[in-house]
Subunit: 382 residues, 2 copies
């Protein structure tokens, strides 16, 4: 291992690509004739093929959840704190699959992909994909990998929603579901924040109704605003206070509109680094997937009824300072699971990091996570 | 009274204007050689001149706090629920003065005013005004009106900050201070939301570094985004949920980026109606006044020390669901007041309306408000 890669990392990983040419009928009414999914795997699929774990990513996530892409890579995958040898999702025991969702912008088919029918990028013509659509596409990925049943499906935030949807759509194909820092549907406030982010992007004059690539521009201003706003909702008031307080970058107020407070500097930095990495059309679609997710909606707003066919065991985790998806939202899910006499572990972790806590190396959280996943492995006998 | 004007209203009111030609030295280092303030008064100043109440407005407020501007006016002033005959601030007993703050865009000198030195609008050259600057300008208004001491100074949100600053800057000139839904300083999260609003306006291509009027355009997109974002922080999650829930405007999901959820429609409507009424340069400066406000900062971050010369009696009110300026923030102030053995009434009103609760006709709140103001009047013997 080089100096840059820590010993408890899965090490250098290589993304793989699979092509799917069986048409996928989407909830919006469109059918995608074919698509590609990019994914990574960590660990080894055992002979019984019963040790596979699916990782579902959140709004701006991708398939690169753990390890490094090269020896020179400075940062590991987004959930490296939880996935690797002897980590919560122990790659010595589990075979972990992590994909970039359909409609994403990290390699799977999405708005930035060339549409083979037109020879141009899909751009704004790419359909709006729902959580249920993702679950279907992930099931096809499982088919290709010859994984009949996942030992566990694990996700945080929008990823937790996918994990939950799996237990409804394919109850026989998942034994354990971990729903972390998620909610069974968005509130009006959640939707409102998404709408401001969408308006920021869509009213940017360089958005060109989504055809910005054709015009050789990017709706940078809009995407930056969306990202800044997102960041505020990912952190708690307390976490921001601890991190930045009212600290001034130059030690004094300058009575100007340049960066004065450290928190302003942080937001602008986050926004600047996001713009080169993420596609605006994908961002818009991810927020729509969040807004639309509402399994209870198809069952008369009765979440318990929505879970009637679910057989998986659940581990639900929330964080005290998460105001985007507060513990109360996790408890709604827990109650509905209990209504169905399902096995549920629920933990509310005391953490001041806000929604982002699910990505962080918080000992109590990672201990809970490990404990649950060890049980999954022990139960599976691997 | 015409049908449109309710009986318990102060009725038709006429704004007045005062010119000030004594130069005003601002905290930013600039000196304004002269300026105008527009204001309204409700009720009658008594012979002893001791029944005057100053109303301080919040970010997007103005001088029109109560009554109607004409018989045809469909909406009363912004605090008509609290100001009028037999209302909390009873105009049968009090003489109420409500002004548009310096730097505003409703008639007082501000960015939209013609700068007599250049013959052009001030625009972005208008200085950043602080809460302390406002207090000085308000003291000059009091001088002109021959009001030596206010019976009370009352404000909500940014208005509450001005009321608090009065007690520090001019302790002898105010007997009672009402600080409603405010905080002794912003948190990093509060500043972060303001920064996103500012970036939305300032990165709008039609902002033209603040010279949009010269270009005959308006940074509409930016100002709309700022307003939408503001609205989310004025309402609680619960209030938004009760008002809109996940209700769909057309009863179904359309898989499009047009308005789908009612909350999206509400935000867009609020944004559209704001754009024609409010100046972007003023908006930017109002958010800076909020960010900079920090009386403790000048006293080694010791709020108690900042209040050492204060002699006023206080009534501090917070609302349970206000997450912009939560009850905890009001309690910081209450503790500092108690440290100085000042007389304090504090109430945390159970209300689900969020920060906007301070503008609403909530019976428990208005009862507290009336009770306190009646005491102020009784004590003054009028």
């Amino acid at each position: 291992m080089p100096e840059t890669i820590p010993e408890n990392s899965i090490g250098v990983v290589t993304p793989q690509m699979l092509h799917f040419d069986q048409p996928l009928a989407l909830e919006c009414g469109t059918t995608l004739p074919a698509y590609d999914l990019i994914y990574e795997t960590y660990g080894t699929l055992n002979e019984e093929r019963n040790n596979a774990v699916l990782i579902c990513h959140a709004l701006s996530g991708n398939h690169h959840a753990a390890g490094y892409h090269s020896m020179e890579d400075r940062k590991p995958g987004w959930w490296d704190s939880a996935i690797g040898p002897d980590k919560a999702i122990d790659t010595n025991r589990f075979f972990v699959v992590s994909l970039n969702n359909l409609g994403g912008c990290s390699g799977s088919t999405g708005p930035t992909t060339i549409n083979p029918e037109s020879g141009e990028r899909y751009g704004p013509d790419f359909p709006i994909i729902t959580v249920e659509d993702w679950v279907h596409s992930q099931a096809r990925l499982a088919d290709q990998l010859d994984i009949e049943q996942w030992a566990a499906i694990v996700g945080g935030s929008l990823g937790g929603m996918q994990a939950l949807q799996w237990s409804i759509t394919y109850p026989d194909r998942v034994r354990h579901v971990m729903v972390i820092a998620a909610a069974p549907k968005l509130t009006a406030q959640n939707i409102a924040f998404n709408e401001v982010a969408r308006q920021a992007i869509r009213t940017d004059p360089e958005f060109h109704d989504g055809h910005y690539e054709r015009e050789n521009v990017l709706p940078e201003r809009g995407l930056k605003l969306a990202r800044m706003l997102g960041h505020i909702t990912y952190l708690s008031d307390e976490a921001m206070g601890k991190k930045f307080g009212r600290e001034l970058r130059e030690g004094q107020i300058n009575y100007s509109f340049d960066v004065e407070f450290q928190v302003e500097s942080y937001l602008r930095y986050q926004a600047d680094s996001f713009v080169g990495q993420f596609d605006a059309n994908t961002y818009l679609r991810m927020t729509k997937a969040l807004d639309y997710f509402d399994p209870a909606g198809k069952h008369g707003d009765d979440l318990s009824a929505a879970l009637r066919n679910t057989t998986a065991q659940f581990c639900v985790i929330s964080f005290t300072s998460d105001w985007r998806f507060s513990p109360a939202r996790s408890k709604e899910l827990v109650r509905a699971l209990l209504d169905n006499d399902l096995k549920v572990n629920y933990a509310e972790v005391t953490a001041n990091q806000g929604h982002d806590a699910f990505l962080m190396a918080i000992p109590h959280y990672l201990n809970l996570f490990s404990t649950y996943m060890n049980r999954v492995a022990n139960e599976g006998g691997f």
